[in-house]
């Protein structure tokens, strides 16, 4: 058996089968390198909550195009926020700028409509809003709410400062003549000033409608107002009644101002009427101190000078009052607006106005409370010049100048009566009475004299003589008859003089020539 063992030729060559694992290895390596090279940046976004974010599922989108995927979601170091790590595509790298914004898109039901319905079934995603800043970064802080307008949208951004939130919220429209031209991006309450701050975005097309004399006012809901001018009810469009909104425009009679830059601030007026009440920017602050009840005087009430509106009541300085204590006059802060008196609405006008007020006070200008409406009982501050107060000067109170006041109403009546009484007091009544007494005494003496006693007898004699004279000219006396004959003769003479006058008038030469009477003219007949 052993001799029959064949020779097995062992071919020790390299089998071509090794190409297969080599190709597999090369392919694998190529795939690895390709993937690594085409791998985009990994970014880190900090969000307040991970609601709607799932690692491996939640996508990062730009304009609804996938550009990345969330890799992991973990708690932040402070345990109060979450850190989302997402891998972006290579082409999305250029989108990562310093001002790139991220927010989570989920279904939202807001006053401005419903958004993100598609995310109800497909799940939320992270929206990337590309920035255009030159600097790049890979760590971001996500927005808790989607911004109303994405960053980089051309347009104008201004700030509004309002007294109360009312029905104005983020997302509400900005209207100009009732047409939406922008939106409120965000609303927040400033704790320091206790004012509402609104970020407003105006679309680029309508940007130039906003200038320095533009005023913004709230058109939300229904405004019901009872003021010194009466009762007013005001509504906007149905939409703004339902969801609110802010309108802007120029107040009546104010010329357009200069264009404004991004970040300009404006006051948000509660309604259009208040815009027209308060259309001026510059106001001089004065304090008037009333030594009477100011019931009915409200902030915003007019300040009139002889019926012409010159300013408004800004504030009733209660805090100053509490310092000074009970019984003190109540300080009221008013502003006098130079723009109302056709002076320039700027600092120059204000200086001019301040001079005018100082001069007027020297001439006797006083402030007093007056009743504007008997129905509502609202009051206003009336300025008027009272000549007998001339020579007074502006006072000083709580760091501001004060205009001296006069009481009004019942107090004013008292004041007037007391003035009258003091005038009466000033009359020289005692001297007057003395001279009157003297006059009466001398009259008495006159009446008691001898000649005065004889006066009636003399009068009797005189009257008898007069009677005799009158009797001599009575009806049947000779004097009467002669008089009538003379009058008849005079009448006759006058008649003949009249005839002579007529003749002379018709024919003046009749004094020399005989009067010729011409025949009556006969009108010609039969001639055509």
């Amino acid at each position: 058996m052993a001799d029959a063992k064949p020779k097995v030729s062992e071919r020790r060559r390299f089998s071509p089968i090794w190409i297969v694992p080599a190709v597999a290895l090369l392919l694998g390596l190529w795939m690895l390198i390709y993937t690594y090279q085409n791998q985009g940046p990994e970014i880190e976004i900090v969000f307040p909550t991970a609601s709607g974010i799932e690692p491996g599922k939640t996508k990062v989108k730009v304009l609804d195009v996938n550009v990345g995927l969330v890799r992991s979601v973990s708690l932040g170091e402070d345990l109060k926020s979450i850190v989302v790590k997402a891998r972006l595509d290579k082409e999305a790298e250029a989108l990562l700028r310093d001002d790139t914004e991220f927010w989570v898109v989920t279904a939202r039901l807001g006053t401005s409509g419903v958004s993100g319905i598609s995310t109800l079934i497909s799940g939320g995603y992270i929206q990337l809003s590309p920035g255009d800043a030159p600097a790049t970064r890979t760590s971001f802080v996500g927005l808790p709410e989607p911004p109303v307008t994405p960053a980089g949208t051309p347009g104008l951004k201004v700030e509004l400062i309002g007294d109360k939130a009312g029905s104005v919220t983020a997302g509400d429209p900005i209207l100009h003549k009732g047409f939406p031209v922008g939106r409120i991006e965000s609303a927040r309450l400033d704790v320091e000033t206790e004012k509402m701050l609104y970020s407003v975005f105006i679309e680029e097309t309508y940007q130039k409608l906003v200038n320095s004399s533009t005023r913004f006012w709230n058109t939300s809901g229904i405004s019901f107002n009872a003021t010194a001018d009466g009762i007013q009810v005001e509504t906007g469009s149905l939409l703004t009644i339902l969801i609110g909104g802010v309108s802007f425009g120029a107040p009546t009679g104010v010329p357009p101002g200069e264009p404004v830059a991004n970040g300009a601030t404006f006051d948000l007026h509660p309604d259009f009427a208040s815009v027209n009440r308060h259309p001026y920017r510059v106001g001089l602050e004065y304090i008037v101190r009333f030594d009477q009840s100011i019931r009915g005087l409200r902030v915003g009430a007019p300040v009139d000078y002889r019926g012409i509106r010159v300013g408004r009541v800004e504030e009733i300085l209660i805090e100053e009052l509490s310092i000074s204590g009970a019984g003190e006059p109540i300080p009221v802060l008013i502003t006098i607006q130079p723009g109302r008196l056709m002076l320039p609405d700027n600092e120059a006008g204000a200086a001019q106005m301040r001079n005018a007020v100082t001069n007027s006070v020297a001439l006797g200008m006083r402030a007093s409370l007056a009743t504007g409406s008997l129905i509502t009982g609202s009051k206003y501050v009336a300025l008027d010049v009272h000549e007998r107060e001339a020579g007074s000067v502006l006072g000083n109170y709580a760091g501001r100048q004060t205009i001296p006041t006069l009481p009004s109403g019942l107090e004013g009546l008292e004041y007037q009566i007391s003035g009258l009484l003091s005038k009466l007091n000033d009359l020289p009544l005692d001297r007057l009475a003395n001279s009157a007494a003297d006059a009466l005494q001398s009259a008495d003496r006159l009446l008691a004299s001898q000649s005065m006693q004889e006066l009636p007898v003399t009068l009797d004699t005189t009257l008898a003589g007069v009677r005799e004279t009158l009797d001599s000219v009575s009806g049947d006396s000779a004097l009467q008859e002669q008089l009538s004959v003379a009058l008849a003769g005079l009448d006759h003479s006058l008649e003949s003089i009249r005839e002579l006058a007529i003749t002379l008038n018709e024919q003046p030469n009749s004094l020399v020539f005989t009067r010729r009477v011409s025949p009556d003219p006969i009108p010609p007949a039969g001639i055509r």
Partner: protein
């Protein structure tokens, strides 16, 4: 004459005969081609060990993307979810489908890995000298060949799901790149098992005893 229990069984090669790979006719090993069908004649499969090792390495390489890349992409209401083999098994366990998870785990993880190890070990064992009985190794080889085709279960599951579940916008299942890699890996392991000549086990036995 040579019994089953004989430690060194007589082989055709030891008698100077070679078996044709195509028609299985025994010819003298001195001949270059089969006298019946004309196919070239080898005592053993040429480069059997090299081929097996090369294909095993290829399969091992393919096994990496097959597990790392997603094997199936489920688009449910516009929300695409990629799942890997291991991820799918974990999901099934999470949903409580333990039997299905077990089947897929065995078919897609245990069997391929076992096959890779078996082929590696077989290739290695025919070169060295060690005490594992040739009979056991032959059994191992048979088992490897037998279960090889069944490890396509995962690919089969994906194929069935992709074909069945096409519910428009509601639910769509598409195969992922790992399905390709996994399928290729199974085929390559089958080829590796095919290219392994079990008679090499006998030769080694012969060398040890002879």
């Amino acid at each position: 004459m040579s019994g089953v229990n004989s430690p060194a069984p007589e082989t055709a090669a030891s008698r100077g005969l070679a078996c044709c790979h195509v028609c299985l006719k025994l010819s003298p090993s001195t001949a270059h081609s089969c006298g019946l069908c004309g196919a070239s004649l080898h005592t053993r499969l040429p480069d059997s060990r090299q081929r097996t090792i090369a294909l095993t390495i290829t399969a091992a390489l393919l096994y990496i993307p097959a597990n790392v890349l997603p094997i199936m992409s489920t688009v449910q209401l516009g929300n695409a979810t990629d799942s890997t083999i291991i991820g799918g098994i974990l999901l099934l366990i999470h949903h409580g489908s333990y039997p299905v998870a077990a089947v897929i785990f065995v078919a897609s993880v245990i069997i391929p890995i076992a096959k890779l190890f078996a082929l590696t070990w077989l290739s290695w064992s025919i070169s060295g000298t060690h005490g594992v009985a040739h009979r056991q190794r032959t059994r191992l080889y048979r088992a490897t060949e037998l279960i090889g085709k069944w490890s396509m279960t995962d690919v089969f599951v994906v194929a069935v799901l992709v074909a069945l579940i096409q519910l428009g916008g509601l639910l769509i299942i598409t195969p992922g790149p790992a399905a390709l890699a996994f399928g290729a890996m199974v085929i390559v392991t089958m080829l590796a098992a095919e290219s392994f000549d079990p008679r090499l086990i006998w030769d080694q036995e012969e060398r040890q005893h002879g």
